[in-house]
Symmetry: C2
Subunit: 323 residues, 2 copies
């Protein structure tokens, strides 16, 4: 999406087209259950494990949809983006699969594991300061220099349609659900979830889960308009970015509520998932369970899907060992 | 198996009976693949993920077979065992499911995570020194005091028949394989693997993988008789115990070779599996991959099953953070 084109709200046929387009490049990830967490929460939980996704994160879906949907005359100049890490990784993965160049602007403070992985997939990194304003300024220079196609990490209909394939798989794998809970940062995963469920399973309630330290989406939903914070600090490093117009459309129309969790609640939930489910996942992915455990009355007795969004964590810097 | 009964070598009908008996109490665990590790090894690898098993370890199979095969007149006095951790956990799990008492003798140096988990399942712990001789002495006292049924962690036909159900699932899930690699400590998993494959798929070669620091099984296989070390030291804490007569029968007759890996090779393989496959597993479970990566000529171009034996690791004491 270049600046000259207007953003259009993706529709359900875009999701179906995306799913056909990206199937060769993504995993149909497994859904895990845990009797321990069912007992602990009082709900029946279904964990959609996008930590097992290509590039270790759900964003491989949206990035693959954008890259494999590119017209031939755009391939030579490649793609570019800014990202706190996982979209950078995913766009590099997808560009590598299609054999086109990829430049990413990343905060210099992004986890080392993510930077190394971007390079491993062949992406080129340009560093910025860890604030929204710096990221956008540096990125404008990169686009001017390369002429690459901008694939925004979430405020892009191609990306949202790609992320929407995740809940399409989930309802196919699990059938009836009462609710789905996903983390919210910029709102790409939540928007994709809204796109799919509002069309294919409108009875399923959609809840977002957000770090209390970066609760701009929760405050936005209450206020009725987008509130953006510059450079919030949270262990859930994938969830620091603000909503934009496309994702605000889905959040404001289809999200039932946004619950928040403190840093220690997020870290405790993360460690407990590692310990009991034997899976490696990111702090961001623990926010849904953290919010379910502190809002048990909302979810008790319900069948609840949880999006485990990614698994790209630095194994040398685990948050429960840094306190 | 009390001391007055002779040990008998389990046969394939014992495996089939075990599988029917324990199905309600165990998971049919998933088999994962990784294009990254296929490329790295030059082989096609199939990871049988017993880290997702009940109690977090394959030993839930053997323990469940022993406990649910117990005659009614033995239930009141319950079961007892000695174990470096995982069998203790598994026997406590199985006894808890059947509602009978369980006493376990554990080295005082066993990982805290395993001790807590044993207590969590309702097992009673009696501590010993971290040596084979101390463990056996303390255990004799426990049996004399409680009159409980001894379920040996591996030298017990009921346990071996239970562990044998793992490779029964694997060949059902994957079909043709050229080789299976499993860790070897006392030899319970390897013996079960030999029992199943020698009968149902005799073309599959069986390799054992052992820490170089606790290579008694490799030396035994070369010498042609059991060699037992007292208190070897290795990060693969599940693999410190020696072979016994029943497991020696299977190892000496059906194992093609035993490869060893150093401590740093084991830790590197463990961290790499966590990083790339996003699964939590124990140091012991990393020994097969470590040996495959240093013996690539043996496995190149082959379809190889790897038993990821368990996932009960202390998340506060990860081995790559202690060096």
């Amino acid at each position: 999406m270049t600046k000259s084109q207007p953003l259009s709200i993706p529709v359900i046929s875009d999701m179906f087209a995306a799913h056909e387009r990206i199937k060769p490049y993504i995993h149909k990830t497994p859904v895990l259950t845990s009797s321990y967490f069912n007992e602990l929460s009082g709900a029946e939980l279904f964990f959609k494990c996008e930590n097992f996704q290509k590039a270790g994160v759900f964003k491989a879906r949206g990035a693959s949809n954008a890259v494999f949907g590119l017209a031939d005359d755009k391939l030579e100049k490649g793609v570019a983006t800014h990202s706190s890490g996982n979209h950078a990784l995913s766009l590099s993965y997808a560009a590598g699969r299609r054999g086109i160049p990829c430049t990413v602007v990343m905060p210099r403070t992004a986890p080392r594991a993510k930077k190394e992985a971007v390079k491993g997939y062949g992406g080129r990194i340009v560093e910025c300061e860890p604030s929204t304003s710096s990221r956008e300024a540096v990125f404008a220079e990169v686009v001017a220099e390369t002429g690459a196609e901008f694939v925004h990490p979430y405020n892009d209909p191609r990306v949202i349609a790609g992320q929407a394939t995740c809940s399409h798989e989930l309802i196919d794998q699990i059938g009836e659900l009462d609710a789905v809970v996903a983390p919210i940062g910029g709102g790409g995963m939540i928007s994709g979830t809204c796109l799919t469920l509002s069309n294919l399973a409108p009875g399923i309630k959609i809840y977002a889960a957000e770090p209390a330290n970066a609760d701009d989406a929760a405050r936005s939903l209450k206020a009725g308009h987008i509130i953006a914070d510059d450079a919030p600090e949270t262990v859930a490093d994938g969830l620091k970015v603000p909503l934009k117009d496309l994702t605000w459309h889905f959040v404001s129309n289809y999200v039932s509520d946004i619950h928040t969790a403190t840093e220690s609640e997020i870290i405790d939930a993360m460690k407990l998932i590692w310990k009991r489910m034997k899976i490696v996942m990111e702090p961001s992915s623990a926010v849904p369970l953290a919010t379910i455990l502190k809002n048990k009355d909302v979810f008790a007795g319900k069948r609840v899907g949880i999006i485990i969004t990614g698994g790209n964590v630095d194994l040398d810097l685990l948050p429960w060992l840094n306190s």
